[in-house]
Amino acid sequence: MASLLPFVPVSALLGFVLLALVPLRLRRGVVIGVGVGAAIVPALLMLPVGIVCVGGACETGAVVTILTIHVGQLAAQIAMSLDPLSVVAGITVAVVGALVMIYAGAYMSEEPVGDLRRFFAYMNLFLAGMLAVVLAADVLLLFLGWETIGLCSFFLIAYYTKRPKAVAAGTKALVTTRVADTMLLAGLMLLFLATGTTRFDGMLAGVGSIDAWHLAPIAGLIAIGALGKSAQIPFHTWLPSAMAGPTPVSALLHSATMVAAGVILLVRLAPLFAAVPEISACVAVLGLATAMLAALAALLQTDVKKLLAFSTMSQIGFMVLALGIGAPAAALAHFAIHAVFKSLLFLSAGIMSHGAHGDTGIEALRGSRRRQPLAFWTFAIGAAALAGLPLVTAGWYSKEAMLGAVLSSGLWGVPLWALAVAAVVLTGTYSFRVVFVAAGRGPDKSIAPWEGLAVWAPLVALAVLAVLSGFLVDALIRFDGGTPSELPWIATLLGAAAPLAGVALARHLVVYPQLLDQLRAKLRHRKVFRIDSLYYFILVRGFRKLSQVMAGPGGEQAIAPVLEAPPIDVVKLVAGDPIGRALVASATRLVKAVVAAFDPDRIDLLWMRFARALGRAWEHVHRIQTGRVRDQSLGLALGFAGLLLFAWGTSWR
């Protein structure tokens, strides 16, 4: 069964090749059929692999070699691994991907056929890339998939190519992640040079022999790469604006898969980070900070897609926190559960906002319970899982596993745990705020609601998974080689109370909406925010600006359409980001100065000045050429006399 593994991404890749590279005209039905079909096959292929794996084939950690490249003495292998990580992540990605694509087949069916084809081509390529990332047993295949999903996300976010906002958001995502990817590449290259192999098993085995001075930069660079892809602080800015893409894109890329790639990488390289506790601590702190601040930012959103984007950042922050304190198995379990409920949330939110005439504002969803009961209830189930309502949702189990790991992680476990629980409260608040608003009374009429199996089947399937998979969490963690942690009863109780407190708070906020406005106003007017940690304060200020920028009318700046042609688009894109404003403003000025200095190319101008100087010299020199025979004879005579003198002088000793 292990030999089946390389074929998992292949069918999605074939779908891409068929749709993108074959210069034939295809009909709409064929495009949708190929696009959706190619995305379903990986899930079907993954299932037997998973069954075999659970049956015990994964214990040995089989590796399937696909290709070997010889450079000198080195044999670089491209290979896929059959181990718990790749199987869990592979099944998650393949199944969620298949369900989202089925939904996309219905969601996108009104698009022009050319755009539809482009959409499905890139979605399939994305899926293939993501599967390559999770299945890879070596850095080559991992990075291939890693960059492929980065580029695909650019194309998919910028799917509406005529909207400058979408295009700018895509570029922003690509450039931001590329900066991180470059760091990752540097880290992987250093790791490769230090261990002499491209295979993960060899690399991790060699970690022990690298001295600390080399290991720290390697781990740091790789961590930066992973955090960049996962939209963690300080690379978080691209994710909220990336919601400019169509809903299935957000559901697949920016909830369950692409942003989780960083988590997968960190899980894969967990032994490396275990060897460098300082870097792990930084990772944990960044993860926790992202979890809290993104949760706070999500609370202030007025747009449901932006809210879900921030919630994704926050949830990934929890996973990164768990990774930082050394609990990769819990992080992986939460990755799988999160993928399920987050894509469910995006898909049902997409249907609800369709019912609200395509408006993605939270207020516009008011009345969805009447208009689209199924969408509303699936959304509510997803929100419950996101909030982690105790006992009945999968989210609770995986979150408890992570929180337990945090609590039992030594000296700093308790404060970290307390902050994480605070973030859980916020999670409950922001997720149920949407639910309560949508349950409220609103216009009953809906525009031509979607019907049919392709829309409802993925929703129902995901909703069932979001509830039932909670009972699998302990098994998942054991399967991944971790041990579910036993918590003191008081911690369990507090962990269970936190989401309920969040829900109560949400109810309160919905009943008294002015509270939220006051909170927003408070944050806007720089009044005291009841957190005394300076570090936290600075970041909140940054985040407040970010959330203002993203939420309010001033938010247009963030990815404003560029009217006059800028020297470099990126600068405009990254500009408007509150946290990086100072940095970016100086970068803007710098780059403008640099580009202005280079355009026109200064070196070219120098050469041309040299050429003109030669021309001017000729102006003067040509006067001695009179063309008269007498003058030329004089020159001849003088020249010969000079030569004779020279000869005489050199031969005369």
Binding site: R623, I624, Q625, T626, G627, R628, V629, S633, A637
Partner: protein, 102 residues
């Protein structure tokens, strides 16, 4: 032939050459410049003869014959050019043919 005689001969030869060169540079008439060239050529020719006589070697006279032949050839070409220039420019002023002016 003594060394002093050779030195005298050489001085005469140098004087002949210098005269010729001066003629080429000073005169503008093409015919006179040609004549001055002949004078200038006779200087080295004399030097060859003198040196041949001093060393008792016949090659000096051989070189003289070569110089004579060269001079004849040069005069032939030069006169032809002279006629050509007179016909095209209508003058025998060498400054009139300044097509190589930069």
């Amino acid at each position: 032939m003594t060394g002093t005689a050779l030195t005298g001969m050489m001085i005469v030869a140098a004087g002949l050459f210098a005269t010729g060169v001066f003629g080429v540079l000073a005169r503008r008439g093409i015919l006179f410049q040609l004549i001055a060239l002949e004078v200038a050529l006779s200087g080295p020719a004399l030097a060859f003869i003198a040196a041949g006589a001093y060393h008792g070697d016949a090659e000096g006279q051989g070189m003289f014959v070569l110089v004579l032949t060269l001079a004849a050839a040069e005069v032939a070409v030069g006169l032809a050019l002279f006629l050509r220039i007179r016909r095209s420019k209508g003058s025998d002023d060498s400054d009139a043919v300044s097509g190589l002016k930069g």
